[in-house]
């Protein structure tokens, strides 16, 4: 019988790791993810988890050790956030290029400067082009579930790419919520044993991994990463289906809420989705036709789902906690790409908010709706809007 426990998001991630039975874990503490390696150390110390836990001297070595272990053919897990993820940057490309299905939990946190330990998505968003699959969790249950899903997708032979699961710093990492912990036997059945055919470092069958690719081969190698990420779209949906059958919880590339007759749809990721649903209920009572949507998978980008969502609305308002300087929000840019060749498309607006842990209030969301309404009425508005910015202190 699945057990229900009240726990923090970080504990949920550690539980997911325990259930997935990685053979090697390598991690280095960083706020807000520190509890993940701490909890895993406890599991290992108590004999509840049979993994080699490498207490590395940096995140760079954490991911490097994971690459070594994964290349030796075992299931591998790590966790980090923010500056730690940035320190891994170089090796993230290599993990994907070597097609190693490492899974990493990220407590989404802002990047310096100024130093800030609170939530936004700049850390994972900045790694969107490394070839890692990216999931974003709305709550602690999703953090646990998506880590299990990430292993299953990453290890699928059609994919073989690393995957990261983001959950918002403090909002989820440190907040306690009831979480259902699935039965070990069901997880075992779901994940199975990881036995790679392409990476093993076995003296009985010596292989060379990480060779030099001249111009004659490099593009083809990178193409296989592209292809794998394209395959991941299908595989993720299959795994979502299977997950629902085994565990009863349903996941979507993009989850919709009251979108069917909406004129304005607010699209976001992570824990903000919970706030949006409440806000939508409130506005619906006031008779405003709005809906909400939550992107659970950001890489591969859910292009078809975005197109379908866009067909339903006149304004697609993207609410995001990241910024790509010189263009605007990353999700906005990607959404625009998805819609570029559509004959009919909604007005797409970008709202940058909640950076570095700034609260996203109903007041902020009212402002989003006001701007969206103006656009709907044909008024000219900015495409990229900073919401909740304290202009008086600039």
């Amino acid at each position: 019988m699945p057990m229900r426990k009240v726990m923090k998001g970080n504990e949920a991630a550690a539980w997911a790791a325990k259930l997935a039975k990685p053979k090697v874990v390598a991690a280095f503490p960083i706020t807000p993810s520190t509890l993940v390696p701490e909890k895993i150390s406890e599991f290992v110390a108590d004999g509840e988890m049979d993994a080699e836990f490498i207490k590395v001297e940096s995140e760079h070595s954490a991911i490097s050790a994971c690459v070594g272990a994964s290349a030796a053919g075992v299931r591998t897990f790590t966790a980090t956030a923010s500056q730690g993820l940035a320190l891994m940057h170089e090796i993230l490309f290599i993990a994907a290029g070597m097609r190693l299905p490492i899974v990493m939990a990220i407590g989404n946190r802002a990047l310096s400067a100024p130093i800030n330990i609170w939530n936004d998505w700049q850390d994972t968003i900045s790694e969107r082009d490394t070839g890692w699959i990216q999931f974003y969790a709305e709550n602690n249950q999703e953090a646990l579930d998506l880590i299990l899903i990430a292993f299953k997708v990453a290890e699928d032979e059609r994919v073989l790419l690393p995957a990261m699961v983001g959950f918002d710093a403090f909002i989820l990492t440190h907040t306690v919520e009831p979480v259902e912990i699935p039965d070990q036997e069901v997880v075992d059945e779901f994940l199975g044993e990881y036995v790679p055919k392409h990476a093993y470092l076995d003296p009985a069958r010596p292989i060379t991994q990480g060779a030099l690719g001249f111009p004659a081969h490099y593009m083809e190698a990178r193409y296989t990463v592209w292809e794998a990420m394209e395959n991941a779209r299908k595989v993720i949906k299959e795994v979502f289906d299977e997950f629902e059958k085994k565990f009863g919880r349903r996941y979507h590339m993009i989850e919709e809420y009251k979108t069917d007759d909406a004129e304005i749809i607010l699209l976001t990721m992570g824990s903000l989705a919970g706030t949006l649903k409440e806000f939508v209920d409130k506005k619906r009572e006031e008779g405003v036709k709005i809906g909400a949507a939550k992107m659970t998978v950001y890489r591969p980008f859910p292009i078809e789902e975005i197109k379908a969502l866009a067909k339903k609305t006149k304004v697609l308002a993207i609410l995001e906690k990241d910024i790509s300087f010189g263009i605007g929000g990353a999700v906005f840019a990607d959404t625009s790409r998805a819609l570029i060749n559509e004959k009919e498309k909604p007005i797409v607006l970008d709202f940058i908010l909640g950076l570095g842990g700034r609260d996203v209030t109903f007041e902020n969301l009212e402002e989003v709706v006001e701007i969206s309404k103006k656009a709907l009425e044909g008024e000219k508005v900015e495409e990229v809007n900073w919401i909740g910015l304290r202009k008086e202190i600039l």
């Binding site: 993994a51 080699e52 760079h60 070595s61 490097s64 290599i94």
Partner: protein
């Protein structure tokens, strides 16, 4: 008739066909080190192949693994410039979990070890991974075209330490990573030179045989980097020993009071002047116009020996 075992195994792990320069010192290191490793694995585990290699970016990695070819007849992985020690840690942890017997060999140049990879190396040694870290010391970044590293000796020309009106060449004494490694109190640390292949071979075997981490720093001349003739590689490496510029020693468990020396003159007097060593190399050519620089180098070498517990005389 009794068949005598060859003194060095005929098994090859570093296959011909790699792209190293003619006369490449580090290439000799690769060949000897893997052979020694194999012998140690055979004696320890009954399986000569019981090892895998994690390699840092650098000359030896580049010349040996050009897709779709490989010079390696052993399981081999290259990830990046600074992380061979961390990658090896991961491989070792995985092997432990898989119940696979054997040892991991991590290989890096002086740049990947003394500079950018020092932190990962220290972490790996301190965590006591069952890994031998082999630093092949060609005393500069050769793969990017001969830039100085912290292991480049005083006075040497490199492209980033060029001698000139205001420069003697490299102006800092060499950093000795072997001593840093020994400070971790790991089971075995040694220096070696391909100028004494038997000594190097024995040390690699010993490093591979101990339980826990070991570190070997081996001098390996680079033909274009040192501006030496290809046929002189081993001779230059031997002169480094004979002139006292390259001490051969072993430190076990960080016991600096009981350093074992090899080929050290009993009376502490080196017979050949370091000028004999310098003269063979284009990278020191400019020093002969600056005798005070050669004297400074000699002072540094004496000081190094003093730290190691030996008073020496250099002719």
């Amino acid at each position: 008739m009794a068949v005598r075992k060859p003194p060095i195994t005929t098994r090859e792990y570093w296959a011909p066909g790699h792209a190293a320069c003619a006369g490449c010192g580090p290439a000799i290191v690769m060949k000897l080190a893997t052979k020694a490793f194999s012998e140690a694995m055979e004696e320890k585990y009954g399986d000569p192949n019981a090892f895998a290699i994690a390699h840092a970016t650098g000359c030896m990695e580049v010349v040996s693994g050009v897709f779709p070819y490989t010079a390696w007849k052993a399981p081999w992985i290259h990830v990046a410039f600074e992380n061979a020690a961390a990658v090896a840690s991961g491989v070792e942890a995985a092997w432990k979990k898989l119940g696979r017997k054997g040892k991991i060999l991590a290989i890096g140049g002086d740049g990947g070890t003394a500079d950018i990879g020092l932190q990962a190396l220290s972490g790996m040694l301190e965590r006591r991974h069952n890994v031998v870290y082999l630093m092949y010391d060609n005393e500069a970044y050769m793969n990017t075209g001969i830039q100085r590293s912290s292991s480049t000796p005083y006075g040497a020309w490199t492209t980033t330490s060029p001698p000139g009106k205001y420069s003697i060449g490299e102006d800092k004494p060499k950093k000795w990573v072997a001593l840093i490694a020994a400070a971790h109190q790991i089971p075995y640390v040694a220096t070696a030179s391909i100028g004494d292949p038997h000594d190097f071979y024995r040390k690699m075997k010993k490093a591979a045989s101990v339980d826990g981490p070991a570190f070997v720093q081996v001098l390996a001349p680079c033909v274009p980097g040192w501006r030496t003739p290809p046929e002189k590689t081993v001779e230059v490496a031997r002169l480094a020993i004979e002139t006292g510029i390259w001490p051969l020693f072993e430190i076990e468990n960080g016991d600096f009071h009981n350093i074992k020396f090899q080929r050290f003159p009993k009376d502490g007097k080196f017979k050949k002047p370091i000028e004999d060593y310098l003269r063979l190399q284009g990278r020191f050519k400019h020093l002969f116009k600056r005798p005070e620089a050669i004297q400074e180098l000699k002072n540094q070498i004496k000081e190094l020996w003093r730290i190691l517990g030996k008073e020496v005389e250099l002719p």
